[in-house]
Symmetry: none
Subunit: 238 residues, 2 copies
DNA sequence: TCCTGAATTGTTGGACCAACATAACGCAGG
DNA sequence: CCTGCGTTATGTTGGTCCAACAATTCAGGA
């Protein structure tokens, strides 16, 4: 145990860090994949020579990365929690509230116009049809909140067609703010049919694989929404 | 204490999670900034009603986010370890999902191509000239890291011309990973003159206010970079 | 200036709990 | 007597807590 501490000192890292590295090495060495289980904490304690508390702190680190999900009775399960982990990272580091509505809408515009090329080139006809289905739900909304949610779902489905996890993660991270923007917009101008029509045109452009039309229509659609937003920044959500 | 744990169980979260949230709330409530110190673990244990081990696990989570750095004798210090934290985060995930690099490059492409319109319409000639200046520094780089940094600075300057806070925040958030991608790319193919030339063409397109040329050149530039990324990136460094 | 002591994190070992899965057991019915 | 089923005992595991010691660092006094 004492020489363990010495080795730790040499490597410059704490026992928890070295333990975390060892566990990650173990995962790599055993070629574990998502769904496989890690040895129990007590076993890991034996394997690494560290105490169970140290192992737990190391596992906590790996867990924060979204790589494992502990399951009682069976052990830690290799997970694919990348999305959630990224969202937590964003939440911990970025202060969305300091951005203005215009900023976020501008960001959306760059993104949603920008993904047009990829969608036109790679999306299947079925996927595009599915967009129509989602779009149809907007006019059935019973409340403004529900309408905003349906609106967001349409745009989120579009984002997903871009086939880029980072993008999807960022969007779901921003979803509360975007929903808030949409809600405010619909409060000021509650014409769901117009929104549905605009979405419909966008889908039609995709169906025709017309990237220029898509870019134009999407850009106009988002600009239009911006026109009905107040100047204030996105203060306190939730 | 026992009923405390029970209440936590009911709230759906673990004691560690709620403790982490409470500590983050504490940081926010006290308006703590980088360099300020958190209460000691024992104090936090009293404040949150959780045991010291639980507090330690919560602190470990926050630490993994790079928000604090523990210092013996004084307590945890609010830190700006974002870069390292994000690098570690992606390093931990590269082994699992190899598509991360492609994801990020795809994201960059959407963004950097997408901001062309705004730059062409709103950037001043002086701002565009400044890009040339930044670009010139690339060939003076003395090391690969410095070259990557100069490369990134050029792209970051472009992003800033988009005049969108959310965008700039996202980019600086991702900067550690982008820098790493650039470093790897330059290690494989260290031709700085080519990069400078590609950047120069992009700036020329902006100067001519030619948005189509910009989109084409930028898209090609980023695709080109992607071609020199390994299939299995980020094999253990340091 | 140097040194002692105190405070704090780092680490360890141990303990208990709740949840859960499995094995062992007992009982009714054939 | 055997078989099948429901029930109970048992063991394992993560979650939490406690007490103790080592290592480090700083404050303050000799």
């Amino acid at each position: 145990m004492r020489e363990n501490a010495a080795a730790r000192r040499i490597s410059g890292r704490s026992a928890v860090d070295t333990t975390a590295v060892r566990i990650l090495d173990l995962i790599r060495a055993r070629q574990l994949n998502v769904g496989d289980v890690l040895p129990t904490e007590r076993k890991l304690s034996e394997l690494t020579g560290a105490s169970r508390n140290t192992v737990r702190e190391a596992l906590r680190t790996i867990r924060t990365y979204g790589l494992i999900e502990p399951k009682p009775r069976v052990g830690a399960v290799l997970a694919d929690g990348r999305s959630i982990a990224i969202q937590n990272f964003f939440a911990a580091h970025m202060d969305v509230s300091r951005s203005s509505f215009a900023d976020i809408q501008g960001y959306r515009r760059i993104i949603e116009v920008g993904i047009g090329d990829h969608i036109v080139l790679h999306a299947s006809n079925e996927q595009i049809e599915a967009l129509d289905e989602i779009n149809a739900r907007i006019v059935t909304s019973r409340s403004i909140e529900e309408a905003a949610e349906n609106d967001f779902n349409f745009h989120m489905a579009l984002i997903r067609l871009a086939d880029n996890r980072m993008l999807a993660d960022m969007y779901s991270f921003l979803s509360p703010v975007i929903l808030r923007i949409m809600t405010i917009g619909k409060e000021r101008r509650p014409v769901l049919a117009d929104t549905k029509a605009a979405h419909g045109q966008i889908v039609a452009a995709l169906r025709a694989r017309d990237r220029l039309a898509y870019a134009y229509l999407m850009s106009r659609h988002l600009d239009f929404a911006l026109r009905f937003l107040p100047e204030e920044p996105a203060s306190d959500s939730e």
